[in-house]
């Protein structure tokens, strides 16, 4: 009999039990999914983006469905780093989940301070740096589309964090490889992509935008082809691991990202559609490996055949 395939992957020194992670903002603080998923079985739980101070977020409507996708303009509502550490982290710790904290700031100082605070917590496995969220006017967009600023944030965070730092990239740029390389040069242990595409929805009857914020971030299966292309481009442009995100719903989707060069993947909008998505994807990757008689999930990474 064959051994069960080895699912471990290495994200810049951090060994994860498997390549299936949750995407920030789509999995709450983890607890919300406890009725549906065994959190400790996931590669990691990436929690909702945390800022230094709590944020109330944008006025509603904040979300709207689009064709095979959704727009969100949550406005980075979160409990702030203090309450996160006091109220949310202990629960995940208690379950033995691997925790990655997604952070966001509006200034270099905020990022630095967040990195310092989280660095003090031994059981936070990694920090994911969100410099790409398109919803907030200040900061967000500029950091994510300017390679110099992207590099500066990465450097600042890496200097203060004790954990590996994952830089999360925005797709709303002409050449995402340039930003990925800036993150690599800044010391990022890995890059994750893509964050949402900037989009808009209008109600033809009322003639008003469907989101109070006018524009929002597009996610879900609709964006998968764009995400897959960018992961494939970035994987050959940097030497650090790439985490693939965007429209992953099934194990087949996840495997496509691994083949395109991702070392791990994050499941986002699919968690809303199918709360059990992450565990089902994990099971599906395992049975794919068994069916194809592969020993390790790592054999899939970048294993795209050269020609159609």
């Amino acid at each position: 009999m064959m051994n069960s395939p080895d699912l471990k992957v290495n994200i810049g020194g951090l060994i994860l039990k498997n390549p299936v992670l949750t995407a920030s903002g789509t999995f709450g603080y983890g607890e919300e999914f406890a009725p549906f998923v065994n959190l400790h079985r996931l590669g990691a739980v990436v929690v909702k983006g945390i800022s230094l101070a709590p944020r109330a977020g944008n006025p509603p409507p904040r979300i709207v469905e689009t064709a095979c996708g959704m727009l969100n303009a949550i406005g980075l509502e979160n409990v702030g780093v203090d309450r996160f550490l006091a109220e949310k982290l202990p629960y995940l710790r208690g379950l033995g989940a691997t925790v990655i904290v997604n952070i966001l700031g509006e200034t270099l100082d905020e990022y630095r301070e967040l990195a310092r605070r989280l660095g003090e917590e031994g059981d936070i496995a990694a920090i994911e740096l969100n410099i790409s969220c398109p919803n907030v006017k200040k900061g967000g967009v500029a950091f994510g589309s300017d390679p110099k600023m992207a590099r500066a944030v990465t450097e600042a965070v890496c200097r203060h964090a004790r954990q590996p730092v994952i830089m999360k990239l925005s797709p709303n740029v002409t050449d995402i490889r340039v930003i990925a390389r800036a993150a690599e040069e800044g010391g990022a242990a890995a890059v994750s992509l893509i964050n949402t595409l900037l989009g808009m929805a209008i109600d033809a009857e009322t003639r008003r935008p469907k989101l109070a914020n006018l524009v929002g971030g597009l996610s879900g299966p609709a964006i998968k082809p764009v995400a897959l292309r960018m992961v494939w481009q970035v994987a050959s442009a940097v030497k650090i691991p790439v985490i693939g995100i965007g429209g992953i719903v099934t194990a087949v989707d996840a495997i496509e990202f691994l083949l395109a060069g991702a070392t791990a993947i994050e499941v986002g909008t699919a968690n809303f559609v199918n709360p059990k998505a992450t565990e089902e994807i994990l099971a599906g990757i395992r049975s794919y490996l068994e069916r194809h008689k592969m020993q390790s999930a790592r054999e899939l990474i970048g294993a795209l055949a050269p020609d159609a």
């Binding site: 903002g25 789509t26 999995f27 709450g28 607890e31 919300e32 999914f33 406890a34 009725p35 549906f36 909702k48 109330a56 977020g57 944008n58 006025p59 509603p60 409507p61 904040r62 979300i63 709207v64 469905e65 064709a67 095979c68 996708g69 959704m70 969100n72 949550i74 509502e77 879900g220 299966p221 719903v249 909008t269 968690n271 809303f272 559609v273 199918n274 709360p275 059990k276």
Partner: protein, 264 residues
């Protein structure tokens, strides 16, 4: 939050009660068993396709001991349009039971006031209240017209409790808003009144205002756009009274004390 399930449910019956009002009967024992009035489910209508992608929230209309769960709904768009075409034997996917239910205290008298499909959770509530011998609920129902009202009212009338009716076009009952009937219903001071309401936002606002002026306890069941239904996406935000941040309707509600809400 432990008692939440994601379940595949078989369609047992798919009925059309009026031009655009339908009722779906599903076999879903785990959710049906735990559901309380005011709670809702998130329904994935066409699990084989990615459009519609996002689940749709529906109040639970009724459950049976046999593990059945009913939804009363209006066809308003793509998802409900596809729902109306479901056949017995088709499979849907449910997440639930979700949200807070109506807080049930049998000491006061209860006035249930619903507009349109807002009747759905109130019917479930009425059946629960009537389990208690002291309960004397009063129901007020509003609809656009007689046809819609006839799709909703009979099941309440069969409970043998007083039911006040209103239609927008006057084709049955009071010609006008159902809220117009509320003031006259909240009479008698032997027992305090507790008002429960579900329906369109302007109606709930009017109910909340009247109850505030009359110092009646009032709970409303509200709707916002929901992506997850379980408190994870933060999409269902509703301004909190005093504009002190946001409530999240799927988790803090959908049933909220009227005073918690910043009414606009």
């Amino acid at each position: 939050m432990a008692d939440q399930y994601q379940s595949k449910a078989k369609v047992l019956k798919s009925e059309r009660l009026a031009t655009d009002v339908c009722r779906l009967t599903l076999l879903c024992p785990d959710i049906a068993k735990k559901a309380r009035p005011g709670q809702f489910v998130m329904l994935r209508i066409a699990p084989a396709a990615l459009d519609p992608l996002i689940r749709r929230p529906f109040s639970i209309y009724q459950t049976t001991a046999g593990g059945q769960l009913q939804i009363l709904y209006k066809v308003v768009g793509k998802g409900t349009g596809i729902m109306a075409g479901l056949h017995p034997g088709d499979m849907v996917d449910l997440v639930g039971p979700l949200g807070t239910g109506f807080p049930i205290d049998v000491r006061p008298r209860h006035c249930l006031i619903g507009g349109g499909m807002g009747a759905a959770p109130l019917f479930f509530l009425a059946t629960w209240l009537l389990r208690h011998p002291d309960a004397e609920p009063v129901v007020l129902l509003g609809a656009r017209n007689r046809e819609e009202l006839r799709a909703i009212a009979p099941e309440f009338e069969n409970l043998g409790i007083p039911v006040g009716l209103a239609t927008d076009d006057g084709s049955e009952g009071h010609h006008g808003y159902v809220v117009d009937l509320l003031a006259d219903s909240l009479t008698g001071e032997e027992r305090p009144w507790h008002v429960f309401s579900c329906g369109p936002y302007p109606m709930l606002r009017a109910v909340a205002k009247l109850c505030h002026l009359r110092s009646r306890r009032c709970h409303v069941s509200l709707e916002t756009m929901m992506a997850c239904g379980i408190g994870a996406c933060l999409g269902c935000a509703l301004p909190r009274a005093g504009l002190n941040g946001y409530l999240h309707v799927c988790r803090d509600g959908p049933v909220l004390e009227a005073g918690q809400v910043a009414w606009f």
